[in-house]
Amino acid sequence: MSTRIVRSLVGAFLALTFSLAASAASKELNLFAWSEYVPQSVLDGFTKSTGIKVNYETFASGEEMLAKLLAGGTAYDLIQPPDYIAEALIKNKLLVPLDYKKLPRFKNLLPAFLKMPHDPEQKYTIPYMASTVGIVVNSERVKEPVTGIKDLFSPKYKGRIVTVDDGRELVTAALYVLGYPLNDINAKNLKEARPLLAQWIKLIKLFDSDSPKTALLNGDVDLGYVWGGEAALLWNENKKFIYVLPKEGAHQFVDVLAVPKGAKNSDAAHAFIDYLLRPEVSKIISDEFPYTNPNGEARKLLSPEQLANPASYPKDTRKLDTFRHLGDSGAMIDELITDLKNAK
């Protein structure tokens, strides 16, 4: 008797938990995105208008995102990879094609940010924000003009430079100076880049990908090779921080939104993407994180001062290239940079 009661109780309990879990699942969105990139007010606004709770888990680099995604601890519904990682995920069939019927506001996006090399058919990804990697100069401390990578890495600036702590960005800078396309990463080109990089690394005071603006604001360094978004924040803080796109060429990056294979709540993911594409929501993102907004309707809502920020909306888009998926040559870059830092 008693065992039967226990059994039925357990059954009822299990049924209850399952139904609770199921209803919770359709009311939750597991978002895996860059830290400091999606404003809390946007997440709250989405929950308010749809009733879907957003679990915002963050990463600090595209590679970290990739490692955690592949480790498969959580079933993410929506991820925010940089372009070249999205390309790798597409090639390995790890993304789910988007359902454009659920994205009526897709039309708000500017054509310049669509059908880019990482997703030529625009089947899997929606651009979130874009930016460039460029040179920041504290014009109060540096009087000479700095127009390119060669000017930046000049011996007179030894100990006054911050760069992102990212081997591929440094190698890209070297390839630009050598006149090679930024995605031509092979043993021969790296060998040519090596002496240049060896010289530069001796000049750099600080490598920081997370917040390179801090050292510039603190006055510990006077020049930087940093993300455009960081430079835009510096310019907002103080107009003495000038942003320059290197004349040799600059790396443009686009962070995209995509639904990974195994997503449990693809509907919520689409609803969130479409919410982000609302001009007034997209404007909130730009207000907080002044990257280049690919949303044409949202740009109409920005203030003249926001649009005048040279790091967010560079006037002169001379030579911009995006990263492509490299295969496993990333290890070659890591070994080269480790070796050169080691020799310091």
Partner: protein, 292 residues
């Protein structure tokens, strides 16, 4: 009957604590198996594997990862990491020993308060304390500001993002781990033994080196292990306070997992590194028992 009952009773007594011991140990053993043994086995397995272009581990046997570990690049980095850890340990002993000794010689009431002071920093996140050091050491930071105000220097000293900053960060982070075990030994030390040494004609130097040091040696070695071993692998301080300029072995391993998409190589580095810890531990342990 009696003859049978006695060994039984003995057996029971002998078995009961053993069984209870295992029951009490079970949570710890389960924890060790789940979070130390299993991960180590996975790490060991990965270290013989290769990877695909996304960094996923591919199960095909190779020794290449171990070949790379012994590349001069990585040996030099390991050497540097050991060097930094060794200097940190020496500084921690030099700074921590007098502090621990002083605390141990105080009346109990004051002693507890002083110990609390040693432990208070643990109430704040380690990263926040490291950022606090950045605020102190930066060009326009507290220290430079103070030195300039007093007039000792005219231009700010470049303190942050130097090897010295890394050492400051390391010593600061690990000092309590040196003070506490030394305090443990020093507190137990019987003052009568020191007095006896003086009575027998030993000067302060001789009493210190031949009585006090050997008696507190277990605390010193425990502190040395607690500081030296984690200091080798530390990467957050070298990144934040050293400006990520020179790589330490901890940075290199972290990069394999989160940057170079090369978990198998990272695993191989981790395995070699762990074996070295075990070796270092065995050496210190043997020395400790020999001096005793």
């Amino acid at each position: 009957m009696q003859a049978l009952a006695i060994p039984d009773a003995e057996n029971l007594h002998a078995r009961r604590p053993r069984l209870w011991g295992w029951v009490l140990l079970a949570p710890l053993v389960a924890w060790l198996v789940a979070f130390v043994v299993v991960p180590m086995v996975i790490l060991f397995g990965y270290s013989f594997c290769t990877r695909d272009d996304l960094g996923r581990v591919v199960f095909s046997f190779t020794l290449e990862n171990y070949g790379r570990v012994f590349d001069p690049i990585y040996l030099r980095i390991l050497g540097r990491s050991i060097g930094f850890a060794a200097v940190t340990t020496v500084l921690c002993v030099a700074i921590g020993y007098p502090v621990a000794w002083y605390i141990a010689r105080q009346p109990e009431r004051i002693r507890d308060k002083l110990l609390l002071l040693v432990m208070i920093p643990f109430w704040t996140s380690f990263l926040i304390r490291t950022y606090a050091w950045i605020a102190i050491l930066k060009n326009e930071g507290l220290l430079n500001g103070m030195l300039q105000y007093v007039g000792l220097i005219s231009a700010p000293l470049p303190l942050l993002y130097t090897p010295a900053a890394v050492l400051i960060g390391l010593v600061y982070a690990y000092l309590p781990f040196m003070i506490l075990p030394i305090y443990g030994s020093a507190e137990k030390l019987d003052n009568a033994l020191v007095e006896a040494a003086h009575d027998l004609g030993a000067g302060p130097m001789r009493a210190f080196s031949e009585v006090i040091i050997p008696l507190t040696w277990p605390g010193i070695t425990a502190g040395m292990l607690l500081v030296f071993v984690p200091a080798i692998g530390m990467f957050a301080i070298t990144d934040l306070m050293g400006g990520a300029q020179v790589p330490m072995i901890g940075n290199v391993i972290q990069n394999q997992f989160f940057r170079a998409r090369n978990a198998p190589f990272g695993a191989a580095l981790g395995v070699v590194f762990t074996l070295m810890f075990v070796l270092a531990y065995a050496l210190v342990h043997r020395r400790a028992s020999r001096t005793r």
